[in-house]
């Protein structure tokens, strides 16, 4: 049976073009269509990646065009992996990743579950909750910087309203203990709505008849939640975790606005440190090695995670 769309497309092809492609196989035509995309992919992604790998074995500095780069083997990799400061940056990144994802998943799922109840005004509240996600990270960073200001910031006043302490007795951004939590709070405030939306999509995809069947079987609400809701939303949740994980691994703008990596290097995430090495110190070879290590880490973790996600989906 002939595909009517294909027939129409064949008829719509100008005779000159039709004559030209007449001798080409389907495979060749497919290649012609795909070639521009492949070319762009090679030019924008693959070529820079290969070049970065090559640079990572040199002492090249992009601000010293008059100095010949030297091949230094694995020295950059060795320096990075044995640098205790870089491991501290990795720890700061891991802390940020773990807590932002944990809090966003918990709060995001809870909010989605509430919104899914379809109470009066739920659409309005959905819009309100989603608002932070629509703001620019630079704006959010500046805005929270004022909120965290110990003398005039609203955040300190709210905390001290409950604790009865002096508002200026603690500094969210200036304290080594509190600064890592201050960036977690802001990222959670901003991106929990994203997780909520994905969870909401998951909750709405569960057919009502499954719950009806469970009701007939006299399954309790708690049982329904753990045996129907959670397993069916889990692939969506895992997807949200993947997106947030990748995004937060490369977190830069929000944290730079809030703390600039400080106090000291307490909130200097790997992306901030990498930017300093590459575009402030101009240690291009070193920064390339650093970028490759981060790329392999993210790619490796994401691959393992995607395999786990596929297994969950198959269940």
């Amino acid at each position: 049976m002939t595909d009517p769309i294909a027939t129409r497309a064949a008829k719509a092809t100008p005779p000159r073009v039709a004559r030209q492609i007449k001798g080409l196989s389907d495979r060749a035509i497919a290649w012609i269509f795909v070639a521009p995309t492949i070319f762009l992919l090679l030019a924008i992604n693959i070529f820079p990646l290969i070049w970065t790998i090559q640079l990572s074995f040199t002492n090249y500095k992009a601000n010293r065009l008059n100095r010949e780069p030297e091949f230094i083997g694995l020295r950059n990799y060795e320096r990075i992996l044995t640098d205790s400061d870089i491991w501290l940056n990795m720890q700061a990144t891991a802390h940020f990743l773990f807590w932002t994802i944990a809090l966003q998943v918990l709060i995001g799922f809870a909010l989605a579950w509430l919104i899914h109840r379809n109470f009066k005004g739920s659409n309005f509240w959905t819009t309100v909750i989603v608002l932070p996600m629509m703001l620019s990270p630079a704006v959010v960073g500046n805005f929270w910087k004022f909120l965290y200001q110990p003398q005039i910031g609203l955040f300190n006043y709210i905390v001290t309203f409950f604790t009865r302490a002096e508002p200026s007795s603690f500094e969210m951004l200036g304290s080594v203990q509190l600064a890592p939590w201050s960036i977690v709070i802001v990222d959670t405030w901003m991106w929990t709505p994203f997780v909520m939306l994905i969870c909401l999509a998951g909750l709405r995809s569960i057919p009502d008849y499954i719950y009806e069947a469970a009701e007939i079987d006299r399954a309790s609400k708690l049982r329904q939640f753990f045996t129907i809701t959670v397993p069916m939303v889990l692939p969506f949740l895992m997807l949200a975790v993947l997106f947030r994980g990748i995004e937060n691994f490369k977190m830069f703008d929000l944290v730079v606005q809030l703390t600039g990596g400080g106090p000291g290097s307490t909130t200097e995430l790997t992306s901030i440190n990498l930017k300093r090495e590459a575009f402030e110190k101009w240690r291009t070879g070193y920064a390339s090695a650093y970028a490759i290590i981060l790329f392999v880490t993210v790619f490796g973790l994401a691959s393992i995670y995607v395999k786990a996600l596929n297994k969950v989906k198959e269940r």
């Binding site: 002492n59 992009a62 601000n63 010293r64 065009l65 008059n66 400061d85 200001q149 110990p150 003398q151 200026s168 500094e171 951004l173 200036g174 080594v176 730079v256 703390t259 600039g260 990596g261 400080g262 106090p263 000291g264 290097s265 307490t266 300093r276 575009f279 402030e280 110190k281 101009w282 240690r283």
Partner: protein, 439 residues
């Protein structure tokens, strides 16, 4: 024939006067940081536009992004700037990487002598290698880190009595760094007119150069040196000397006991805000801001006074300021050089000082009336006599960022000891100089 001759001569004269000007009229772009003196330069440059026929455009970048933006521009061979008033520390990179035009031949041809400018500014803003007669910039804006304070508070009888009771001495401009800390601690948390005020606002910024510029204002008076022998890159024993350790501990104590809460990442803007909002009794900042501070209707005039960075073991101030260079990638170098020639003129330099720029020209600085021309003029002269600058090496950014990290880790994040911070700094700097092939 007579009529023809007259017409021909008239036409020739017209051509000789106007054509070269019109033919060479250029749109010049001058790049600098966005701050008070930049506005003064815009005003000053109108005269150049009128005289030369060239038109001036300005690209002013906020300080925190200035180095990042401009060094990227230079490193990429960008043509945005024809003239650049770049920081003193960029001179090494500007010269060695070919970003700046060498000006020796031009100065010789135009009769511009570096002897006409203050020696400290020529050394810091113009020469590379340091101290050699190879000029890559004309001193444009002399500057140093200084202090200002609430004169009205210092003069109040109740406050003076309380200070005398607390310290046993009269309240006045500090003569040493320790005295300054004592005054700041006296004001810390004090109630003045029903409002809690704090000691002083100092530089603690992490991202660009803030905390380094602040801490060196303590290090230099204690006698800090970058090398045991100039040019040797032999830093052990100099950078981490007992005096340097003491100075660093002093700065940390200052930060912890005499600054407003939340000033963990503060630089020029935050220092000005703290003072203008009446939060602090004293503040450090660059002399460049002093004309604006003096003119401020709320905290300027009779309410403010200024003092040079106090000595401790010796006099010492952190150098600021910049030289003006012609960018090597500019297509309008001739017109840019014309601007430099005009700017070097003593009359223009005098007007530059009048408008709020800090001229480094001897004719301005040595004028008998200079010291009394502004309340901070004498302090400026004194500061410029004892200035010290950060490394001006081509790898200055790496050296600076290493110091930013080590100092901020110790002072603000309270990690490790002063000795450890300076020892680690030597390790970082040694690595940089090894990479540079200088060690």
């Amino acid at each position: 024939m007579k009529r023809f001759n007259a017409a021909a001569i008239g036409a020739a004269l017209t051509c000789s006067v106007s054509v070269p000007t019109l033919a060479s009229a250029e749109d010049l772009t001058l790049c600098w940081a966005a701050w008070d003196p930049a506005n003064a330069l815009v005003e000053l440059s109108k005269e150049f536009e009128a005289q030369s026929g060239h038109s001036m455009n300005f690209e002013f970048i906020p300080w925190p992004n200035f180095a990042d933006r401009m060094l990227n521009e230079l490193n990429s061979g960008g043509k945005l700037c024809d003239l650049l008033i770049g920081d003193s520390q960029w001179i090494g990179g500007g010269a060695e990487n070919g970003h700046y035009v060498k000006l020796n031949d031009f100065f010789d041809a135009e009769g511009i002598s570096m002897d006409d400018f203050a020696p400290a500014t020529v050394y810091a803003y113009s020469t590379w290698p340091k101290g050699t007669p190879n000029y890559y910039a004309l001193p444009a804006m002399g500057d140093a880190n200084g202090w200002f304070y609430r004169k009205d508070w210092f003069e109040r009888d109740d406050i003076r009595a309380a200070f005398k009771e607390a310290t046993g001495r009269e309240l006045g401009e500090p003569k040493t760094q320790r005295e300054m800390l004592e005054i700041a601690q006296f004001f810390q948390g004090r109630e003045i007119d029903g409002k809690t005020v704090y000691g002083a606002s100092i530089f603690t910024e992490r991202g660009s150069e803030g905390i380094t510029m602040g801490v060196t204002s303590a290090l230099y008076p204690w006698g800090f040196k970058y090398e045991n022998t100039p040019g040797s890159y032999d830093m052990d024993g100099a950078v981490n000397s007992p005096e340097a350790v003491e100075a660093l501990e002093f700065y940390k104590e200052f930060y912890e006991t005499a600054t407003p809460p939340g000033y963990t990442n503060s630089y020029m803007g935050e220092s000005l805000d703290a003072f203008k909002s009446g939060q602090v009794a004293m503040a450090m900042n660059w002399f460049a801001f002093f004309p604006g501070l003096y003119a401020d209707p709320n905290t300027g005039g009779d309410k403010i006074d200024f003092f040079v960075n106090p000595p401790q073991n010796q006099a010492g101030s952190t150098l600021g300021g910049q030289g003006i260079s012609v960018v090597a990638y500019s297509d309008k170098q001739d017109a840019a050089l014309e601007y430099i020639k005009w700017f070097a003129n003593p009359e223009v330099q005098a007007k530059w000082w009048e408008l709020g720029g800090y001229s480094a020209h001897n004719s301005v600085l040595n004028d008998p009336g200079f010291k009394d021309s502004a309340p901070f003029a004498g302090d400026f002269l004194e500061a410029m006599g004892a200035v010290q600058d950060f490394w001006q090496e081509p790898a200055y950014a790496e050296l600076l960022l290493a110091m930013q990290k080590r100092i901020h880790d110790y002072v603000v994040a309270d990690q490790g000891t002063a000795q450890e911070a300076l020892d680690k700094l030597i390790e970082d700097w040694t690595e940089v100089f090894e990479d540079e092939g200088k060690l």
